[in-house]
């Protein structure tokens, strides 16, 4: 699809420069931390245990997430029902929530005093202990199942409808559908989905600690905290950051080739109907999958909502100011993320080995925010006082973290657009900005809307590096929420959590919708 015969334009060179800058933004801070370290740093047995545990819990979380996502995606792909689209959007909410909010919501349902356990107790059964490896996996599945569902759903919807009709006409049974449709789709989509979730889970800190139940659940990120805060061993912290880079590159090399060619941002609107080999059993199973996923994902959100709603109106003005600041910050970092992602995505379409550049962007989710934040702090400090720059730096880091998701959405669509419209534009002699505006961008609106929505939601919900730089009067909404929690003001914190959840979803919805509306009018 990508031919090297086409010359690289200014936009592609911009992309190359930006890709290099992104790599630098991750590896530079790591290097800065390393420069301050005493050499040679060493890893103790506890660090190796943390690495092993991190790999184990991330692999398990990724595996369970994608496995459970299969029946849900299958059901959403072949059934149409009222509220399907709203459900798909709402189901994405856990992924966009600040971790502590998600965890508290999850515990309200599955915790020792949670609804599920109350129900078990009422039925005379023993209460289930959620803390431990099972709790970590439960929470990671809660946070990442929606992402897995969406990725698999894209695979389903990329199938031409003729092929599904053909299968109907050939009399495919449910088993034939599974063999000839589902397996090839899953083979193409699962490695990428699993990789993405695996990498997200490798930097898990609060979830792993709160739900892990104790020090046997120590992750690499916690080991970095220990090295940094407890032992002030910068060398070990940087070395552990390097381990994260190695894990990212290793896992990426294993999985990356397989995720190419599947679009993240499109095709959620139509379920493929009618479905060959449909039976009453299949319908019942689909209904069960959708109901179970809805309950699993939405009940904890409902718990957050129920607890926080009463406090919402009485929130102190500081929280509203922080909310406004967070919205502006989210919009700014979304703009930055899009400005980074677009040229890089266009560059990727011209490369023979696109996985390499995209893989670099994955570093931004795989490497410890603590190490990056600290390194950035050191770098900025060598030039100027970092304290007034807290908000811009936070916005920049948020944009970097959102980059891989934007790229995952944009690259396949950009490749498609280049292959179809690109040739036409070539033939018409369209060049430069005109080519981008009229030939390529219109085809990218939907994935761009979806990716920008994700980026905005990330920036909105993530505590981010602001916690390392904070000064009075600069707090973001997540930071103010943590501050409320830290000042005993639990009710207000729960109210702030609802506000955060609502704003995050609204931002995501607005961008996602915007991309679709434009796509329709074009």
């Amino acid at each position: 699809m990508a031919s090297r015969a086409q010359p690289l334009g200014a936009i592609h060179w911009t992309g190359a420069v930006l890709a290099a800058l992104v790599a630098l933004a991750v590896l530079g801070p790591l290097g800065a931390v390393m420069l301050r370290a005493s050499w040679p740093p060493t890893l103790g047995p506890a660090d190796w245990a943390a690495i092993r545990f991190t790999l184990l819990q991330a692999a398990l979380s990724a595996l369970v997430s994608v496995t459970l996502a299969i029946p849900v995606a299958r059901a959403l792909a072949r059934r149409d029902f009222a509220g399907r689209r709203v459900l798909v959007t709402l189901m994405g909410a856990p992924f966009l929530l600040p971790v502590i909010v998600a965890v508290l919501g999850l515990l309200a349902v599955f915790g020792r005093a949670g609804w599920a356990n109350d129900l078990l107790a009422a039925l005379g059964a023993a209460r289930v202990d959620v803390y431990g490896l099972q709790g970590i996996v439960l929470a990671h599945v809660f946070l990442n199942l929606p992402l897995a569902v969406r990725l698999i759903l894209q695979g389903w919807q990329a199938v031409p409808s003729e092929r599904i009709r053909l299968a109907t006409s050939l009399g495919f049974s449910t088993a034939d559908m599974r063999r000839q449709f589902e397996r090839p789709i899953l083979r193409a989509v699962l490695p990428g989905a699993a990789l993405l979730i695996f990498l997200i889970c490798t930097t898990s800190f609060a979830v792993a600690l709160i739900l892990g139940g104790g020090p046997s659940s120590t992750t690499v990120e916690l080991a970095i905290y220990q090295a940094f805060r407890f032992d002030f061993d910068l060398g070990r912290a940087a070395l552990l950051g390097l381990v994260q880079v190695a894990i990212c590159l290793g896992a990426g090399a294993l999985a990356f080739g397989a995720i190419r060619g599947h679009e993240v941002g499109a095709g959620l609107d139509r379920p493929a109907l009618p479905w060959p080999g449909d039976t009453r059993v299949a319908r019942a199973l689909d209904a069960a999958a959708i109901l179970a996923a809805t309950g699993f994902l939405l009940l904890p959100l409902a718990a957050v909502l129920l607890k926080g709603l009463p406090a919402l109106t009485g929130l102190p003005p500081v929280v509203w100011e922080a909310a406004l600041r967070s919205i502006i910050l989210a919009l700014a970092s979304t703009a930055l993320a899009v400005a980074l992602a677009l040229p890089i995505a266009l560059l990727v379409t011209r490369l023979r080995r696109p996985g390499l550049v995209e893989g670099l962007a994955f570093l931004t989710i795989a490497v410890s925010p603590l190490v990056i934040g600290t390194g950035l702090f050191l770098l900025i400090r060598s030039v100027t006082n970092p304290i007034p720059l807290a908000l811009p730096v936070t916005g920049m880091v948020n944009a970097l973290v959102a980059l891989p998701f934007l790229l995952r959405a944009l690259v396949p669509a950009a490749m498609e657009a280049e292959a179809t419209q690109g040739r036409l534009a070539e033939a018409l002699g369209m060049r430069g900005l005109a080519r981008l505006r009229h030939a390529i961008l219109p085809r990218l609106r939907r994935p761009l809307g979806f990716g920008a929505g994700l980026a905005a939601a990330f920036s909105m919900g993530d505590l981010g590096v602001i916690a390392l730089f904070s000064t009075p009067g600069q707090g973001t909404l997540p930071l103010e929420m943590y501050r409320l929690m830290g000042s005993y003001r639990t009710d207000d914190a729960q109210g702030a959590a609802v506000l955060l959840m609502a704003l995050t979803l609204a931002l995501f919805w607005a961008f996602d919708r915007g991309g679709r509306l434009d796509a329709v009018t074009r």
Binding site: I100, L104, L107, Y131, G214, F230, P392, T471, L484, G486
Partner: protein
């Protein structure tokens, strides 16, 4: 973002315009500077007398604060660091960044004697397990707690200062026997959280019977929420103290102002802010001056505190013991 950069630029310009006003930069933990912490009231009170601009910079918690200072080294902008505790002061002193405060503190109301050339206390508290008054069979010491089936949630000493406080509490009370205590507690511990907020949140959600916090925590519920249902369990071994301190940097360009702030820190104007913002005991305020409600709090029979040097020396081994006991 452009907006923020412009705003940042403007504040630099504004700073230059008022260059005649000396600036005192105080690094402290984040919850101190939050709108619900002591920061705003302290800033207003001090600026009313000092003819200066007091600027707080927040950085995580006490341990993050020390890490930040170590990162910046001698070139730090800080004049004062406020919010380390005695588990951190040995390491802080070792950096050589702090100057003697030169103040003889009068009227300290700590339950222990204070003699530290670099650091002055501004508040303190007792670590304690907080629970609902409805809880039956409240344990009276660690052994009783370990033997009971009462569930607790604690903080990780590697990422939290209260977590480290608990580690030192068991260490101070049991010494070589700490490992056994931790093994006994293992099945009581519901989970270990990264920080105080998460642990306290879980406790309020009903995830555990007790949470590691402070004897002063019930005062918040009593005074701010008029809810008398929370109390702290008195342990016979005595309660480990957290003493929060401040010190001035040797490299400060405002030594007089820094010293003035440290003196101000021990005056009633500062001290009276502490109880209902930080929810700790002020370090230099007689019990009679505490807000109504504080008299209801549990009074430990004995105050435990390892010296900074002891705490630093025993920390790593205590952590290893803790990890080994709880990892089984």
């Amino acid at each position: 973002m452009k907006h923020t950069i412009i705003a940042a630029g403007l504040s630099v310009v504004a700073g230059a315009a008022f260059a005649q006003t000396p600036v005192l930069t105080v690094y402290t933990y984040d919850s101190f500077v939050s709108d619900w912490g002591p920061g705003p009231a302290v800033e207003e009170a001090f600026e009313a007398t000092c003819g200066c601009d007091l600027q707080f910079v927040g950085a995580g918690d006490g341990a993050a604060l020390l890490a930040r200072l170590r990162l910046e080294g001698e070139s730090t902008e800080a004049d004062i660091v406020l919010g380390l505790d005695t588990n951190l002061t040995a390491a802080a002193r070792e950096t050589g960044l702090f100057a003697p405060h030169g103040i003889t503190p009068d009227g300290l109301t700590l339950p222990i004697a204070w003699d530290d050339a670099e650091f002055l206390p501004f508040d303190w508290g007792y670590f304690a397990f907080v629970h609902d008054t409805a809880l039956a069979n409240v344990p009276g010491d660690f052994e009783a707690l370990a033997a009971s089936d009462i569930s607790i949630v604690i903080q990780d000493p590697r990422s939290s200062t209260p977590g480290l406080g608990l580690l030192m509490w068991v260490e101070a009370a049991y010494g070589d026997g700490a490992g056994e205590i931790w093994e006994g507690l293992a099945d009581n511990i519901v989970t270990v959280t990264p920080g105080w907020s998460e642990a306290y949140g879980l406790f309020l959600e009903g995830e555990a019977d007790m949470v590691l916090s402070y004897t002063t925590s019930p005062a918040y519920h009593l005074i701010a929420e008029e809810d008398p249902s929370k109390t702290a369990a008195a342990f016979a071994e005595g309660h480990y103290m957290q003493v929060e301190v401040a010190g001035m940097l040797a490299g400060t360009d405002q030594p007089e102002l820094a010293q003035a702030f440290l003196s101000f820190m021990l005056t009633p104007e500062f001290q009276e802010v502490i109880p209902t913002t930080n929810w700790m005991y002020p370090a230099a305020l007689p019990a009679s001056a505490l807000p109504e409600g504080f008299e209801t709090l549990v009074q430990p029979s004995q105050a435990l505190l390892l010296s900074p040097e002891d705490a630093a020396a025993r920390r790593d081994e205590a952590l290893a013991t803790w990890q080994a006991a709880l990892s089984r």
